[in-house]
Symmetry: C4
Subunit: 205 residues, 4 copies
């Protein structure tokens, strides 16, 4: 098999982009000037820190699932490369949305924007997932329930922000908790070669 | 074969540089202060977002094609390393040009500069391509038509900006669309060992 | 063994994140404006440079030890992925703490904060270490003395900052020196396959 | 051989750090506000662009030589890891020195500082080189003339800046040109296994 078709460089590039995305958000933790008292300065940074943590967890979830999903892909198609780039683009908007909430506070508009920034990578992730499962000729084993629940929660978090920004925040957090469990989709897929018992191993550990 | 001569580290370093380039552009999506209204603030960011998207697509195209081109290279020469570095340097000017358009608006001068920043990686990409095909002793299979059309469009986009910045933008967009299709040059090259039928696979998928 | 379970991507992603963390701190070395005299400007930057150096050494120590620890892990579990992400999150707060000391000077509060930022990755590192040794079914060979001494020094450096920020700084430096020696824990572990004599080689060199 | 001892992760981490260093310098190419005329704005950026280019070439030279040197190292020692980190730290000061010259102009002090920033990675590079050749038990084949000439030029560029900053700049440029040629040291070393004729191949291409 030609090197140009294997997935190692897709992984390496995605790792690089996700590593930069997940880390540059910390640049927004700006230190207030000397005129500001210590406790006041720390208190001013705290909400930024919390939003950064939430975004770190969200991007982390994507990385873990990307790791699992691409791990079963030996060869890549042109469609996979571009679906992956579309996903990475949407993911790269996280630092901006994080910064927006941090800078402008937990308001209805801020959370609606943050929820939108959470919907975009979710949608392109599903596209990437479909492109990959079609390319491999397998059927996804992620429960449709989980998939639709999380999409509904993300999309619902946009208008929900206008009822209460904290309700919106709670819905986004719920999706995060939901996805902390790894997808077993491809592990249980029909055409996967290899050691399916081994696959269940990591889920159990 | 000595490890120093294989192409894996060239790929890893290029992936790292391209990952940083494609991601740091998002740092320019600056959140306006609290004094600015929400809708006004979002509207102020929108043109930056669109230019960022265009630059992301352009850099993404280069990454995809870099992936294909280097994928066929097993060993690297000193010339390849430096042609690649020259290409990466020109590519690294994208965040600056993107920022310029974002900051100073879609004017004749801005687009002429952006078009110039688009020409530079294109030229060094062609140099890299020539260095690689010579080193491998193969002939390029990229249609000369596509190559010259895209170069002409990029170069033409510089003076075209003074007729209309949107014409210039349209020409750059046209090149992007043109290159979204992967080059099959090396796949059809004469001396490539391996599975040429497999090579056509990814182009079809 | 499935590619999704091997540790290479965990390493690649961690390398990416640590590389960004260790390098973006240099962005805080800001050049004073032309109005400031050369010597004054350089003197203003010097404390930042020294804190940057200390943080670079600390992050470097983690990278070296990460390299050793993950080097013995062939497969990863879901728990390892998330323990690693928690560790990387805590590590990503280093640029912020570094910046705080640089910006606001070597005061009691600054050093207490910096010591806290040093404790967090240490704690998550120990969690990661426990998760890995349990997953591999081995017992850690890091001397308990070294582990508890360093944790005590880090935690103690927080209140110590209120006695003297330089005492606090000295305690953090002591931990750094302590950990410059690589851990031999897994090398001497019971279930490790391979060449244990080779393992001692690198410790001796 | 244990995975913990091989050099692949040293390469990956170094690539990541060098990729970030070489790319974040472009963030200093700041776009002037709309009040500044187009030509004036571009002219203001030009010296920064030139210093960035020089620094890019210098860092690029180190990357290429790092690629060659580590390419012959199969296993790493603790000393190599730390010599490499010391080298990367010194290299990470390039963006600061570049920024200094860009911000404060081509003055005696600026160039003396830039020359100092050029000396530091050169010195740690030589240390890394000695650590590696000793670890491998080989003798370096880099001509002593080249090594001492470049060190002398770099060190001499510091006081030379006070005669003329352009003389200093010229001396740094001379070293760059000198090192554009790859070192053949390890290729001609005594204990290297493999294909020494192949090694000469890349030098000739």
């Amino acid at each position: 098999m030609s090197k140009a078709l294997d997935s190692s460089r897709l992984e390496a590039f995605s790792d690089g982009v996700i590593a930069v995305i997940i880390t540059i958000m910390v640049l927004e933790l700006k230190v207030p000037g000397k005129a500001v008292g210590n406790v006041t300065a720390l208190r001013a940074v705290t909400p930024v820190l919390l939003v950064y943590l939430l975004s770190f967890v969200q991007v982390g979830i994507y990385w873990v699932n990307h790791h699992y999903m691409i791990g079963y892909v030996e060869r890549v198609s042109h469609g996979i490369l571009w679906a992956n780039l579309a996903f990475l683009f949407c993911l790269s908007l996280f630092p901006f949305a994080t910064n927006w909430v941090a800078e402008r506070g937990i308001t209805a508009f801020s959370l609606a924007l943050y929820a939108t920034a959470s919907v975009l990578p979710a949608l392109t992730w599903h596209v990437l997932s479909v492109v990959i499962t079609r390319f491999l000729g397998i059927t996804s084993a992620t429960s449709a329930l989980k998939k639709y629940t999380s999409t509904l929660l993300y999309v619902g978090a946009i208008p929900a922000a206008y009822l209460s920004p904290y309700l919106s925040l709670g819905m986004i957090l719920t999706v995060a908790v939901l996805w902390l469990v790894p997808p077993r989709r491809i592990a249980q897929a029909t055409r996967t070669a290899g050691t399916p018992s081994g696959e269940r191993d990591y889920a159990a550990s």
